[in-house]
Structures are given as C-alpha cells and as structure tokens.
Symmetry: C2
Subunit: 219 residues, 2 copies
Amino acid sequence: VGILDADITGPSIPKMFGIHTRPEGSEAGMLPVSSGTGIKVMSLNLLLPDENEAVIWRGPIIGKVITQFWEEVIWGQLDYLIVDLPPGTADAPLTVLQTLPVSGIIIVSSPQDLATMIVKKAVHMAKTLKKPIIGVIENMSYLYVPEIKKKIELFGPSKGEEMAQATGAPLLAQLPIDPELAQLCDNGEIENYTSEVIDKLGQYLSKMSLSSPKDSKDS
Amino acid sequence: VGILDADITGPSIPKMFGIHTRPEGSEAGMLPVSSGTGIKVMSLNLLLPDENEAVIWRGPIIGKVITQFWEEVIWGQLDYLIVDLPPGTADAPLTVLQTLPVSGIIIVSSPQDLATMIVKKAVHMAKTLKKPIIGVIENMSYLYVPEIKKKIELFGPSKGEEMAQATGAPLLAQLPIDPELAQLCDNGEIENYTSEVIDKLGQYLSKMSLSSPKDSKDS
C-alpha cells in the first residue's frame, strides 16, 4: 500500500506515521519512504527542512507538486495507492481527479450539518467529473465515556445514512472520537491503533475489487 | 461588524447564521446580507442556487472572488470586517494577506500536535508576509461532561500556551467542544449562543484598538 499526501499546504501523514526520513532520489525518480509496517509514503513535509515550515504556494504549483508525486515517484508494485486530500473542492482534489487514474473516492464526513454540506459539495464534484464514490466514512461520530458507559453524540445525531443516500454508496464505518487515537497520531504511532470498527473496515476494503492505479496508468 | 467568508470552496458562515437571502445588487455593487443581530455577511454560498452545489474552481478564480468580495461589495460603515479563512496556506489566505489591508490575524488552533503543526505553518506564512498576529484561540480544547463533573481533554493536553509562545501573541480563549453550539450552528442560530468564555473573548476584543479596514482602504 502507498499513501500520496495530496494535502500540500497541510500535510499530516508523515507525522501520524512517525516518518522523518528524507526521501532518496535516483536518476529514475524519488523513492517513497516506508513506514514501520511497510506503507510507502510521499508527502511534501518529508521534503521540507522543518515540518513547521509553510509553503506559500498558489494552486498551479500545488497541482504541479501532486502531479510530480504521481509521475516522478517510484511507487513500485502496490496493491493500492491512497491519495489523502484536504477538504473542499479547490486545486488539490481537482488536480487529483483530473490527472490521476482514480479508481474510486472514499468520502469522509462528520455528523454536523455544516460538515455534511461541505461534503455534499465534494460529492457534487465527484459526480461532475464522473468519478465513482466507493463509500462513506463518518468520522467523529460519537464519544464513548467509560465512566458513565454512554455514547455522547457530540456533533448531533449521525448523518451517516443520509450521506450514504446522497452518494448512493455504502456507509463503510462510523468512527468514534477516540483520545487514544489522537494520542497515537501525535506520537507518530498510528499503526499501533487497533479497534473493532477499524478491523471491520479493513476486512470490507480488502474484499473490494478495484482496478489498481498502476494498471490504470499502464493502460 | 461584517464577515467576509473567504472559504470559497467550503463556505459555512451563511448556514451558521441562518442566512438564505440572495444578496441584492445595484450599479454601485452588491449588498451584503444582514444576520438577525445585524452582522453583514457576504459568502459565495449566498450566490449559489443550492447550498450543496460545488464550485470546482482553481486558485486564480478563488482569489478573484475574494478580491471582488472586498472591492465590489458595499460594506458601508463597519467597526470590523472579519475575514473567515479555510485552513492551510493555499490561495485563499495568500490572496487575503496580499490584497486586503489586513489589520491583524487571529490564529485558531486545536490541542492536537497535528493541528498545531498546520497552524505553525500559517504563523510562518503570516511572518513571511509581515502581517501581525493579534492572538490565538484554542478550539476543541476540552469537553465538559456534566454527569461526571469532569473536563475530558479529547485531543490531549492544551497546546494554547505553546501556540501563544510560537506566535508571540496572547492566548485569547480556550473554547470547549460544546454539543449545544454544534446544534445551534446546524440550526442557523449561532447568534443565540452564550457562554462565559465567549463573553470574556468579546470583552477583550472590543477593547483592542485596530485600524479599521475601511480606513486602511481609503488611505
């Protein structure tokens, strides 16, 4: 599996995976950096001298970097390449959907009406560009408070089914807010996270048959 | 007070304020729409036939819309014009900082290291473009659970002071996650929200002396 971090002005993948190695380059291209469990990652933050440094770039350059991450990185043989996008419908998602041979889109939403509205815009974009939506994941769906053995719906009742209907794609998972996950992300140990919901999601996704991006690229 | 919604691809201001009126135009320009308490709002979502519709625009057009919202909207006499920006350091913030006579920037962060990193990039951007940072607000700082009379730090311990140091600006407020606020936002009733933290923040901000944007524009 590979992850192409297409959130150029807010790249968070390397930090979550605890990757701080600079990518090596060769004449053929740049090599992605492998995580602890062997996930190949390419992100602009790996190329910056300091992770807090800002790239103050306008859209055309952002689009160009994403295209380079696709064309000039030696991804090798992958089962899947996951492209992580920022929210909204500006340059990054537009470039990815128009330039990369995307097999499908996973929509990540949250229960707030506000978030649902922004996500519906993304759905509209996907439909306009005729890219299939594979499924919907509802993030920050609830918080489980062990002391009172109760789920609290912090951002209101789930909009998961509504989003599934709006996209015509299945609701793949409802992820809770989990302080342990937040902690692991901050420590660069996201790969140590286990939960029943994530296990089920993994099983579901591994059963899906998608055309591999590399195949699509070759064809 | 006016609010210019510069989050063109994810505009959430009208929904939070329950504004659905289309802005009226005249030869002199377009009129902002007033909220229940008289805040003047201009947002791309007010101009779309359906709030869920997506604008699939690249950076240059996004920048142009923001410039038009500043130059061609008849804001009238305002104490303050607040410009709401999306996260990151792409076209929208760049256009605002380079084109509008910004008196100061309020940085909104959250306690996660990940968020702090992205916000530090924004701080870096502000410093590069020599724009003053007025203060820092930490959002989603904690959740208060009444049943157990306890604050839960969902995203880890506060990074507020760290952010204040990084920016050299005061920590203006630590806002909790509040399901009531989420509900009010979804209902378009954000103006009905009251809390001690917000009251204090309002008092602090009203005491600040900033040059009015309209003055700056005239000068």
